[in-house]
Amino acid sequence: MTVNTSEVLVRVENLVMHFPIYRGIIKRQVGAVHAVDGVSFNIYKGETLGLVGESGCGKSTTGRAILQLYKPTAGDVYFKDQNLVELRREPMRLMRREMQMIFQDPYASLNPRMTVRDIIGEPLMAFGLASGKEIDRRVDELLDLVRLSRDFSGRYPHEFSGGQRQRIGIARALALNPSFIVCDEPISALDVSIQAQVVNLLEDLQKEFNLTYLFIAHDLSMVRHISDRVAVMYLGVIMELADRNDLYTDPLHPYTQALLSAIPVPDPVFSEKRQRTVLEGDVPSPVNPPSGCRFRTRCPIAETICAEKVPEWREVRPNHFVACHKV
């Protein structure tokens, strides 16, 4: 898919999201979880931006902070040149028509006491877009769209499989005709065979409605398949951002290299030949992240400068951004 690089749909500038930690009887703030620490990127209209990283690195928080489900500690999020951070409650609610979200856990994201019709029809009702029979008609359309039988509209979530539930969630997200959807690990809770179905469905819908996705995942092969560009996140900071092929064939950041070498290869001969970078240790605590470069404690090529200075976010090649002193 060619991306029209001229039109920016979402612009994230220096987004910071800290969750305060309180202790004691008087609830004194003793620290903060640095979930997202200064993240900037653009999402172009019609593209899919993949966001990958280990669990706990702030991917989901970034997605939720963009949708203003958390109030960001600092930074700005522009959607079509409107700064969402400045919006009050009600104007922000109205903006939600344009931006939706698909959740990771299809078992937790559907209200167990509502029928499929009520779940998918709820956004229409919330904005007064339809009522009565009209909702039924629209719900049927949406069920067709996600390839579920119309007979399901009277049923409850617990009657469905994970993949079917995820499609109900997708139908709900599509109900308002949004232009931007945050897909928060939409496939990681599903069986591998179902994953492909859902990913293909997401791709079909993108083509049909010219949707823009922020696709959060930790499955690198799946991200490679669906994304136009990919951002790699580590401990609340984006380490590398590049076009998909660029990033996968020629990763510049040592963390990206390590991640890519961890993808299992279904070819034992090739698998033995390839050089693997195996990271040691654990991700440091986001309460007290390392000085300088976040990755230096596990980086195979770290030097003294990495501990002293935060690496600059540079465009080393056209459309290929890296934050590393050694590149």
Binding site: E122, E159, Q197, L260, P266
Partner: protein, 346 residues
Amino acid sequence: MTAVLKPSGDNSKLTETLPERKISRLERFLGPENYRILRGLIKTPASILGFTLIGLFILVAIFAPVIAPPVGKDAYKIPRDGFSSEPLPPGSAWEKKVPELPFWYKALTGNDEWVHLLGTAQGQYDIFYGLVWGTRTAFRTGFIVVVATFLIGVIIGSVSAYFGGLVDNIIMRIVDIFMTLPFILAALIAAAVLTPVIGKTLVPSILALITFGWMGYARIVRGDILSVKERDYILAARVVGVKDSRILFRHILPNAIFPTLVLASLGIGDVVLSFAALSFLGIGTEIGYADWGQILSFARNWITSLQTYWYIVVFPGLTLVLFVMGWNLVGDALRDVLDPRMRGKS
């Protein structure tokens, strides 16, 4: 460079169908969720027993005027057969002021002499009349107290969970203070203090039981709201632009209230038991008012010779036990059905 894993999947196969299932007319009428609850409720032998017991008590309460035709103006005043203190055994004949003979008695026994079916208690109060009309008292006190404590608890718990922070802290500490008081003792003192003000009616005991009975509901509602609030589907509702009030009433409360509802159904039995305890201790209604605890309290002076006068304890005691057991069985069945983990298993 790694091999590309192309996901494969055929979208035409996505339109799956669930297995055909016959949907009965009752299910259509009630909706699948209520139908499932109903079906679960009448499934286990224990719940059937519970519902039968409660059903019988309801019938007794409704048909009290037929089962035991009232004597005098106040039907709740237990008719007396004289004033002698020694209880009479079941089956002894009415001597003085014989009440109207219920029609079913003649039909069943062929006898037109009305007897003390279950004997009399100290002071010649007829136990049968007391138990039949006492059923109404039990339902009345049980429902009033449970509904009131449930509402108070749900409102206080929701406020606490909704506002959080300092408000939550203060409310929950007040709940803690109430919880530390020994329930029966506190209710006893409160009812004893209220009785001279309000008079010897059901009201002082009811007020006392309400005052010290709402904390459990408040705690459970608060906890459940706090846990439901963090679920993904609440977030999802916010994402699709649902307003806060609707999120609270449509998404949070329906998912948070059910454990409390189960607790409430279990609570009716407990309330009636506590109420009987207060009556037994002499707090509450006038002497001679149809109320199970009161009849039991007539047995206080005869504890040493219960081998002779067993009926003054066994009949009211058994009634109380069956009533409480019925509600407990119903409550257990409700809990099983409303537990989300039981979904799809019935």
